[in-house]
């Protein structure tokens, strides 16, 4: 039997391979997608100027040479210099992380705190008005575009009702609207998954037995079902993390939130290869780490998954 440390070592090895693959793909795709130099110079700059700047940035060397230099630097933790900012690329990317974490964590927490009880109640009080209302809202949350939800919240809760600021980062009030916008899809998904999971478990034999024994409804739900419903919810958490990263781009743009999603998309438009590389690397590391934690949690919660 491999044991826990064997398990970790194997995962670490897979992580390194994944990171290397991701970095290489991004490297090649970015350099094939276009040239950052025309974006740096005024539009009337002559071709000779563009050639000179390409050379100064080392972009006129062959792809293989550039890749070799890149790998060599990455091993030392050097992701190169941002073409757009003229500052170290990884430092630029890291400076955006705090804002993204703040928003992502708050969005996810709100989503969980609101959606989980809502899902449970909807399942327990199936086909009631509350159930239908909650599931209707969930449908909207999953189908309405993030952009639309964000602007709508700004126009109603901020402009019309003056409850929150319109955009930007500041104190807790600045977090509410972007967190609601970012978390809308997750909230909806968790509510629906929770409801289904709870419904399924409620039908199970051991629950009928507990009911027959006279245990109260709430206690039945709490003790016997939640642990089992937790598994599907964990799965969705891992998947939602990816969506949160992607949805963050739109939310961050609408609310002028200085997060890494916005940096990533701007860097792609600017063809700022080193920063794109850095943001993708960070996202890959985070994604892999979250999934590792989830796998460990699975192992704890469900002995069947430890095989």
């Amino acid at each position: 039997m491999r044991g826990f440390s064997g398990f970790l070592a194997y995962r670490l090895f897979r992580t390194l391979v994944a990171l290397w693959l991701v970095s290489t793909v991004v490297f090649v795709v970015m350099r094939l997608s276009g040239d950052p130099v025309p974006l740096l110079l005024p539009p009337d700059a002559p071709i000779s100027e563009m050639e000179r700047v390409r050379h100064d940035l080392g972009l006129d060397r062959s792809l293989a040479v550039q890749y070799g230099v890149f790998l060599g630097n990455v091993i030392h933790g050097d992701f190169g210099r941002s073409i757009h900012f003229r500052q170290p690329a990884m430092a630029v990317a890291r400076s955006y992380l705090e804002a993204t974490f703040e928003l992502g964590l708050v969005a996810f927490t709100i989503a969980l705190v609101v959606a989980f009880p809502l899902g449970v109640i909807s399942a327990v009080k199936r086909n009631s008005f509350l159930d239908h209302a909650a599931m209707g809202l969930a449908l909207v949350g999953q189908s309405a575009p993030t952009f639309f939800i964000g602007i709508l919240l700004i126009l109603t809760l901020s402009l019309r009702l003056d409850l929150f600021p319109t955009s930007g980062r500041g104190d807790w009030r600045n977090l509410v609207l972007p967190a609601l916008t970012l978390g809308a899809f997750t909230m909806a998904s968790i509510a629906r998954i929770t409801r289904s999971a709870v419904l399924e478990v409620l039908r199970a034999d051991f629950v009928r037995t507990a009911r027959a024994k006279g245990v109260t409804e709430l206690w039945v739900v709490a003790k016997h079902t939640l642990r089992n419903a937790a598994l599907p919810i964990l799965t969705i958490t891992g998947l939602q993390f990816g969506t949160l990263l992607g949805g963050a781009v739109v939310t961050e743009t609408v609310f002028a939130w200085p997060g890494i999603g916005r940096l990533a998309i701007q860097s792609i438009y600017n063809r700022d290869y080193p920063v794109v590389q850095s943001t993708v690397f960070i996202a890959a590391v985070l994604f892999i780490a979250i999934n590792l934690v989830l796998d460990v949690l699975y192992g704890i919660l469900d002995p069947r998954a430890r095989a």
């Binding site: 539009p43 563009m50 000179r52 900012f85 955009s167 600017n270």
Partner: protein, 543 residues
């Protein structure tokens, strides 16, 4: 008796009250018109008093901090490494130039107090004394010489290396005199010094800390200096107390990027920001109708044009090009798509530029003649493609679709729109691989046709797709001539050639660049996109 120049009297009490709250109607006028609408003095008085706080608070402030929101964030503070409008709005305030173009578009002394052409290829500048850098060092001619030479120094690798290509040699015979020798006569040197590339940087400090540290902690002579910057969040700039032009009217300016239009306008309407740039025409009324805000615009120092790749068929056919120009209903575009926030040009020289000829009529719309030209041209339905961006030029995609419709109406059945991403456009621009037409918003950097028409369409220039020998000869002669009359005549002829042969650009319109402001901000926009915060242009109305 009604004044002809005044707004028509508001038809209802409510409209009158709105106008009064906005400050569009004076208190005296309010009473007069209220009386005409049937209100008693007591009634009008009660209404006026109720409106007074909103009116007063909208008009004045005690703020010591100004918050400005623009559509994109700053990328660099070193003025020689970026020409992006999001950067130059700030860098023109951290740094001074030798000459300064104010919103009235005239050149004023800045770090140079006087300048004269002291020879056919010599300009002599007297420099301002007593100017301090943000770090306390004194400004001298050594800084000016270093700064200008830095722009074209190959070792410095700046992004503005082509701005001062007319300069041969710079001398600093004493601390407050600068002598610039040009390769040929350059009547436009003072104009060149006023725009990007001409921001003056400190020799001692830059040489001591190097370009990277200079970019992180810039030092200039301008009215504001950098206190802190969080990317994509905000940049905090403090007023420089020792500024030679007088400390600005606030203690601090915050620059915030709000890329989406709706939140940016919302922030202004709510009072979270005091000024916004890039106010699209469809929000103009909203900002003006709001009690506490107003729109302010300047006619952009440039044009919106479609560049023509005259090397591809059928754009190499002069009759086809002329038909394309005649088929565009520019007035409709300005009226319907921009709510009137623009003018129809009369040629390739922008209104406000030197040698703009007001006697020329606006570019003609004549679909009938266009149709005839299409028939005469032998056009066989070949594709005429506009490769448009989305949002690079305001409403570019919508304009493209409208214009293609207009071309199809006159028989150019192959007209079509394709969307490309901005960086793809930049690459096609560099490689000259456009399929047909593309959007360009050339800025008249010198407020002179040399800085726009010539800069872009000259031989080996960035939009060199067509050559006319007479046009080239005139352009070359005009740029090096010190004779105003000769220059004027040359550009007049060049305009005629350009319009007769319909090469270079399909000229569409000259837009207003609009800003949104809180009413207590007294500020005049500058047609060349510099956001001028110095005392002579920016003040807050205080109670």
């Amino acid at each position: 008796m009604l004044d002809q120049g005044r707004q028509a009297d508001p038809p209802t009490v409510e409209a009158l009250l709105n106008a009064f709250e906005r400050g569009a109607v004076s208190r005296r006028d309010f009473f007069r018109r209220a009386g005409l609408l049937g209100l008693t003095v007591a009634g009008a008085s009660a209404l006026a008093d109720a409106a007074a706080p909103a009116r007063a608070s909208a008009q004045t402030t005690q703020k010591r901090e100004l918050v400005i929101a623009q559509g994109g964030d700053i990328s660099k503070f070193d003025p020689h490494f970026s020409t992006s409008s999001n950067d130059i709005r700030v860098s023109f305030n951290i740094f001074d130039n030798l000459t300064s173009r104010h919103p009235d578009q005239k050149l004023y002394p800045a770090l140079a107090t006087e300048w004269k052409a002291t020879g056919p290829t010599t300009w002599t500048f007297k420099l301002r004394q007593g100017v301090k850098w943000h770090n306390g060092d004194p400004f001298t001619s050594a800084d000016a010489k270093f700064s200008l030479e830095r722009t074209f120094d190959p070792a410095a690798k700046t992004m503005v290396a082509t701005v001062f290509t007319t300069i041969d040699r710079i001398e600093a015979p004493d601390p407050y005199t600068l002598v610039i020798q040009t390769k040929k006569s350059d009547p436009l040197l003072p104009d060149r010094l006023a725009f990007y590339g001409g921001q003056i940087v400190p020799k001692k400090y830059v040489e001591a800390v190097g370009p990277d540290a200079f970019n992180d902690k810039p030092v200039g002579t301008g009215p504001i200096r950098l206190a802190s910057w969080t990317k994509d969040d905000k940049a905090v700039l403090e007023a420089f107390g020792d500024y030679w032009g007088g400390k600005i009217d606030v203690d601090r300016i915050l620059w915030r990027p709000i890329p989406e239009t709706a939140p940016r306008v919302a922030a202004l309407l709510k009072g979270e920001v005091d000024a916004i740039t890039q106010l699209p025409s469809d929000h103009w009324d909203r900002v003006n109708q709001n009690a506490t805000t107003r729109g302010a615009g300047a006619l952009y120092a440039g044009l919106y044009v479609l560049g023509i790749n005259a090397k591809v068929t059928p754009l190499n056919n002069e009759l086809v090009r002329k038909a394309m120009a005649l088929a565009v209903d520019r007035e409709a575009i300005v009226k319907e798509m921009y709510g009137g926030r623009g003018v129809v040009p009369n040629g390739p020289i922008a209104q406000g530029d030197r040698f703009y000829d007001a006697s020329l009529p606006p570019l003609r719309y004549d679909p009938k003649e266009a149709r005839e030209l299409v028939k005469k041209s032998g056009y066989k339905g070949e594709p005429i493609v506009i490769e448009t961006t989305i949002g690079y030029v305001a409403q570019d995609k919508a304009m493209s679709e409208a214009i293609v419709g207009m071309w199809k109406d006159v028989g150019l059945t192959g007209a079509a729109v394709e969307v490309v991403e901005y960086s793809v456009r930049a690459e096609k621009n560099r490689n000259r691989t456009f399929k047909g037409l593309w959007w360009s918003d050339p800025t008249s950097t010198l407020r002179d046709p040399d800085g726009m028409m010539w800069r872009l369409l000259a031989p080996n220039g960035p939009q060199d797709y067509f050559r006319d020998p007479e046009w080239d000869e005139l352009g070359n002669a005009a740029r090096f001539s010190l004779d105003e009359k000769f220059r004027g005549e040359a550009y007049r002829k060049m305009t005629k050639i350009m319009l007769d042969k319909a090469f270079g650009w399909v000229i569409i319109m000259q837009p207003y660049e609009d800003y949104g402001l809180q009413k207590f901000v007294d500020f005049t926009p500058n047609p060349n996109q510099q956001f001028e915060v110095r005392r002579f242009n920016l003040k807050l109305r205080r109670a």
